[in-house]
C-alpha cells in the first residue's frame, strides 16, 4: 500500500477565503442568514429604536388610548401571475397578514407602484382589479397611493428590457382591539405550536412555473388573507402568545427567529408537519426542504397548552382538517446559550435546524 503524501499538504488543502461580500446578493433578500446579517449589522444599529428593535412582522404603537399595528412590505415577484394569485393579490394579502400577526384588525392600506416604461396598461388594470378584490375579501380599504414610472432597465449589453417589470409596495394600519402582547417575549415554556395548513405551496408554485416543471395537477399558491381566523381566535378568548406568518424562509426560518428572540427551544415534530404530495415531490426533484420554502397563507400560533383544543376547533372552521399541532416550546439545553429549533423525526432522532445562508439553491443530482 502506498501513502499519499499529498493529502492535507498545503497544495491539497482547500483554502476558500470567501470574504464577506461587498455587494448585495440575491440571498440578502432570501429571509436566511444573509438577510439576518443585513438587519442586525446595518438596519437595526442605524434605525435603532425600541419599537423597531422588537422585530415583529408589524409594530404595535400606542396613540393615546388606541393601539395600532403598522407595517410595510414590497413585492417584486416574477412571474407577475401564478396559479392561485398574482402580484396584486399577494401585495394586499401579504400586508394584511403582517398586520394580523400583530393581532390587529387590518383596516387601511397604502399602495406604491413602481412601473417600468412600456408596461401594458391592460396588464396593470388586471393587477389593480385583483388588488381591489383582495382588499374587499380581507375587509381593508386602500386609502392612499403613489405611482412612479422608471426608465427601461438597461442590462450590461446595453439592451433595454421589454418593459415587463412592476414592483408594488404596500403599507398598512390595523387596529388592536385587545390588551395582549403578541410577541416573542410572551412565549412560555410548555406552549404549543399550531400550524394552519400544509407547507410550501407558494414557493413551489412559483418555482415550478419559473423552471417549467410539469405536474399532474399544478401546484396552486396558498396566497390568502389570514386576519379572519386570527381575529376569531382572539375574539373567542384564546390567549395567543405569539403569531408568525411563514413567508420567505418558510417554517424553519420563522421558528428559528422566534426561538432566538424568546431564548427557548422550539421542538417540531417532523411527521406532524403537513406537506402536499405534489409539493413534496417537487421539493425532492429540486433538492429543497419544504420547511424552508415560502408560504403566503400559512402561520403558526403559539398558545398555552390548555387552550389547544379550543384553538384548533376554531381554526378548523377556517381550515377544515388542516390546522394541527406541530410542536412545543421547551426550555433549552443549559450548554447552549441561544434559543434554537429542533426537529424530531419518525425515528425519534432530534436535530437542530439552522438558517439557510441565502436563497435555497437546487442541487445537481
Amino acid at each position: 500500500m502506498q501513502d499519499n503524501p499529498e493529502f492535507n499538504t498545503p497544495d491539497f488543502n482547500c483554502p476558500l477565503p470567501l470574504h464577506s461580500t461587498d455587494h448585495i446578493l440575491m440571498g440578502h433578500g432570501g429571509g436566511g442568514k444573509l438577510m439576518q446579517q443585513l438587519i442586525e449589522g446595518l438596519f437595526l444599529p442605524n434605525f435603532n429604536n425600541p419599537l423597531l428593535n422588537q422585530r415583529h412582522d408589524s409594530t404595535v404603537i400606542n396613540l393615546g388610548d388606541t393601539r395600532i399595528a403598522f407595517t410595510t412590505d414590497s413585492y417584486v415577484i416574477q412571474p407577475l401571475f401564478f396559479p392561485g394569485g398574482d402580484i396584486g393579490s399577494l401585495a394586499v394579502n401579504g400586508t394584511v397578514n403582517d398586520l394580523a400577526m400583530g393581532g390587529s384588525r387590518p383596516s387601511y392600506l397604502s399602495v406604491g407602484l413602481i412601473i417600468e416604461e412600456g408596461f401594458p396598461i391592460a396588464t396593470l388594470e388586471k393587477i389593480i382589479q385583483s388588488m381591489q378584490a383582495a382588499a374587499d375579501h380581507a375587509k381593508v380599504q386602500i386609502v392612499t397611493g403613489d405611482t412612479k414610472v422608471i426608465d427601461k432597465v438597461i442590462n450590461r449589453n446595453h439592451e433595454k428590457s421589454h418593459g415587463s417589470s412592476l414592483f408594488i409596495n404596500t403599507a398598512g394600519i390595523g387596529i388592536v382591539e385587545h390588551k395582549m402582547t403578541l410577541a416573542p417575549r410572551s412565549i412560555q415554556i410548555g406552549d404549543v405550536i399550531l400550524l394552519n395548513g400544509d407547507l410550501g405551496r407558494h414557493g413551489m408554485a412559483i418555482m415550478a412555473l419559473r423552471e417549467g416543471l410539469q405536474f399532474d395537477s399544478p401546484i396552486v399558491s396558498d396566497c390568502a388573507p389570514l386576519a379572519e381566523p386570527i381575529l376569531a381566535l382572539l375574539e373567542q378568548g384564546i390567549p395567543i402568545h405569539c403569531l408568525r406568518d411563514l413567508t420567505r424562509g418558510g417554517l424553519a426560518s420563522a421558528a428559528i427567529e422566534l426561538a432566538e428572540a424568546a431564548n427557548v427551544e422550539i421542538e417540531l415534530t417532523d411527521d406532524a408537519i403537513p406537506v402536499h404530495d405534489t409539493v413534496r415531490g417537487a421539493c425532492e426533484i429540486l433538492g429543497l426542504d419544504p420547511i424552508y420554502v415560502a408560504n403566503e397563507g400559512r402561520f403558526i400560533a403559539i398558545v398555552p397548552p390548555d387552550t389547544v383544543e379550543a384553538a384548533l376547533s376554531i381554526l378548523h372552521q377556517f381550515f377544515p382538517q388542516q390546522a394541527c399541532v406541530i410542536g412545543q416550546v421547551r426550555s433549552k439545553a443549559p450548554n447552549i446559550d441561544r434559543g434554537y429549533v429542533t426537529i424530531r423525526n419518525s425515528l425519534g432522532v432530534k436535530r437542530i435546524l439552522t438558517l439557510l445562508t441565502g436563497d435555497p439553491l437546487p442541487r445537481i443530482c
Binding site: C14, P15, L16, L18, A333, L347, T354, I364
Partner: protein, 384 residues
C-alpha cells in the same frame, strides 16, 4: 410519493438498525462515497441508530466541493466576459474561487443563469445567437450523460455560440486512491447508487477483489442506507469482499448502456485535479478532439494556473491563517476525521464563510454536519 415513503418507513428502518446491532460483533468502519448519502445519513440521524462501535465515515462524493479551485476560477473568468451567458447548476453558484463566487459575480453584473439540465443551456444558446453561451459541466457519472446529450444536440443544430467548461469526475478512481493510502481506515464501501445506475458495477468488482473490501451498491433513502450498511457488515463479519447490489430497483449490473454510449461518443477519460484530494489519474472526463468546437478552451483564452500575484499573497496569508493550521479537509475527505473534530467547525468555518471544500455545498460532509447537527454534536455557533 408512496414509493419514497416505503423507503422512509420508520419501523422498517428501526428493524434494520436492530438487525445491524445483532450481527455486529466488533468495530468496523464503512465509508459512504456519495454526498447524497451523507446528506441522508445526517438529515435522518441514522448514525444515532447504529451500534457505537460501527463507524460511518463520509467520502469525497460531493461533485460541487471536489471541483478544483482553478476550474472555479475559469468559471468566474468566463462569467465575467460581457458576451457570455454563463449557465450552471444552482449549487455551484456559492462555491468560492480565490476571492469570490458566481453569485457575487452575478451581483457585479455577470449574466449567470441557473439551469436544471444542460439541455436548458442549449436552448438558451439557440435563443441568443449573438451571445456566447457557456455551460459549466460538473458532476459525477450521473450528470455526464445529459452533458453528452447536450453536446450531441448542439452539434446537430450546428450551434456556433455554445461551449462547455467540462469538469466531470469519476468515482471508482477516487475510491482506489483512498484505498491505496497507507493510513486508510475504510473496511467497507457503500457505492453511490445513482452512479451505478449509469455505469453498472463491473469496475467495483475489480476494486473489491484487489483491495479485499466489500462494496454494496446503495440507494439514497434512509432504508436503502440501513440495508446497505447491513449487507456490508454481514460481509465484514463473514470475511468476504464482494460487490452486492442493494439498489436493484434502479441498478443493473451493466448499467444504462444507452447513457454509456452517449458518454463514450463525446468524452474521453483524463487525469483530473480534485479539490482536497489532488490529481487522481484517470478520474475525469473531457471532450474528445472531434467535439473540440464545444470546448471553452477552444473559444476563449482561459486563465490557467494560479491567480495573479497580489491575490496569491492574500491567499497564502489565508492559507497560513486558516487552512494550513486549522482546515483538515484532506482528512475529512478521506474519512479520517469527522467535521466536528475540526477546531474551527461552526465557528470560523460556516456555510457563509467556508474555509474548506466540505463546508461549501449542502452535500459536503462539514456542511451536512452543520445543517443537520444533533444536540450531541451541536457546534459552538448555536451558542455564540
Amino acid at each position: 410519493m408512496k414509493y419514497l415513503d416505503e423507503y422512509r418507513n420508520a419501523s422498517a428502518i428501526q428493524q434494520y438498525a436492530q438487525a445491524i446491532a445483532d450481527i455486529t460483533t466488533q468495530p468496523w468502519t464503512i465509508m459512504e462515497i456519495c454526498g447524497g448519502q451523507t446528506h441522508t445519513i445526517l438529515k435522518f440521524g441514522l448514525e444515532q441508530l447504529l451500534p457505537t462501535h460501527l463507524t460511518i465515515i463520509h467520502g469525497p462524493g460531493c461533485p460541487v466541493c471536489v471541483t478544483a479551485i482553478e476550474t472555479i476560477e475559469q468559471a468566474l473568468w468566463l462569467a465575467a466576459q460581457p458576451p457570455v451567458i454563463f449557465c450552471s447548476f444552482g449549487d455551484m453558484l456559492r462555491v468560492p474561487g480565490y476571492d469570490r463566487d458566481l453569485l457575487t459575480l452575478k451581483a457585479q453584473g455577470g449574466d449567470v443563469r441557473t439551469v436544471y439540465s444542460p439541455l436548458d443551456a442549449v436552448k438558451i444558446a439557440q435563443a441568443n445567437p449573438d451571445r456566447e453561451v457557456v455551460f459549466f459541466a460538473v458532476g459525477f457519472e450521473t450528470t455526464a450523460p445529459a452533458t453528452a446529450l447536450a453536446v450531441h444536440l448542439a452539434q446537430q443544430q450546428q450551434l456556433t455560440n455554445f461551449s462547455m467548461l467540462v469538469a466531470h469526475v469519476l468515482v471508482p478512481p477516487a475510491m482506489e486512491q483512498l484505498l491505496a493510502a497507507q493510513n486508510c481506515q475504510i473496511q467497507g464501501f457503500l457505492a453511490a447508487g445513482h452512479v451505478c445506475t449509469v455505469m453498472g458495477y463491473g469496475e467495483y468488482e475489480t476494486i473489491a477483489s484487489r483491495y479485499r473490501v466489500p462494496i454494496v451498491v446503495t440507494g439514497f433513502e434512509p432504508l436503502d442506507i440501513m440495508q446497505g450498511i447491513y449487507h456490508c457488515v454481514q460481509q465484514l463479519e463473514a470475511g468476504t469482499a464482494q460487490v452486492e447490489n442493494q439498489y436493484a430497483r434502479s441498478v443493473q449490473p451493466q448499467g444504462n448502456l444507452t447513457a454509456q454510449s452517449f458518454m463514450q461518443q463525446v468524452f474521453e477519460v483524463c487525469d483530473r485535479s480534485w479539490r482536497g484530494l489532488g490529481t487522481i489519474p484517470n478520474s475525469g472526463l473531457r471532450l474528445k478532439p472531434s467535439y473540440a468546437q464545444f470546448d471553452t478552451a477552444q473559444r476563449f483564452a482561459l486563465p490557467t494556473g494560479k491567480p495573479p500575484s497580489d491575490t496569491l499573497e492574500n491567499v497564502q496569508e489565508n492559507v497560513n491563517d486558516n487552512a494550513n493550521s486549522t482546515c483538515i479537509s484532506g482528512l475529512i475527505l478521506q474519512g479520517l476525521r469527522k467535521p466536528y473534530q475540526c477546531s474551527v467547525f461552526g465557528t470560523k468555518c460556516t456555510p457563509e464563510h467556508p474555509l474548506g471544500a466540505p463546508m461549501v455545498s449542502s452535500e459536503g460532509a462539514c456542511a451536512a454536519y452543520y445543517h443537520y447537527q444533533s444536540l450531541t454534536h451541536s457546534h459552538p455557533s448555536t451558542s455564540s
